[in-house]
Symmetry: C2
Subunit: 121 residues, 2 copies
């Protein structure tokens, strides 16, 4: 339903950011290309965690061709922080680093076993 509306009337509708911030969506709105009105959830987490003006500043400091990637990583980070308000991305990073430690130990053991068996063969 939302999708249909945005496809038919996107020129007249504000982007999700301006809709949530209840402000007029200017033609050169920094958020409009990245926060379509039919994906409001993309902006709600970003707004809560980083704030609209901070994201605006961050995007402004980047060349246009990097802004899409930056928005994607900002949305990703905000969602992690909403799910885990204490540890956020640091929690995800620590858990991956632990997995790497475990895998490195397992690999070292398996490789040592290979070396040991080669001697016996």
């Amino acid at each position: 339903m939302m999708k249909d509306i945005s496809r038919k009337q996107s020129a007249a509708l504000p982007c999700a950011a301006c809709y949530i911030l209840r402000r007029r969506c200017a033609q050169d709105c920094m958020f409009a290309p990245y926060f379509p009105v039919d994906e409001p959830h993309k902006f709600t987490g970003v707004y809560k965690v980083f704030g609209a003006s901070n994201v605006n500043k961050m995007l402004n400091e980047l060349p246009e061709h990097q802004r899409g990637e930056a928005v994607s990583s900002i949305v990703y980070e905000a969602n992690i922080r909403v799910r885990d308000p204490v540890y956020g991305c640091k929690g995800a990073i620590s858990s991956l680093q632990q997995q790497i430690d475990v895998l490195q130990t397992q690999l070292a053991l398996a490789e040592a076993e290979v070396v040991h068996m080669r001697i016996r063969l």
Copy 2:
């Protein structure tokens, strides 16, 4: 030098957040326990990336015993975003996930070789 000043006169000095925000540091300042005046760099990244009022809100929503960990992860995340304004933590997470993929492949190969050699022994 800064450390000595803060230890001797911490009651009279604002915290790093209030110092940077040029405001009076109230006795119940939310930032004071986590942003001592002798570590201003801890707050500058956080301020740039998340903004003071957002961090204040995030800490307010947490019980006091979790705020220290939350500040630590917020400082960590902000520093990564300052260093990598396009990919931020998502870049760090993707790179760790790639390392895990490589290690899992190497481990599977080493384990297969062990199984293969056991049959030959």
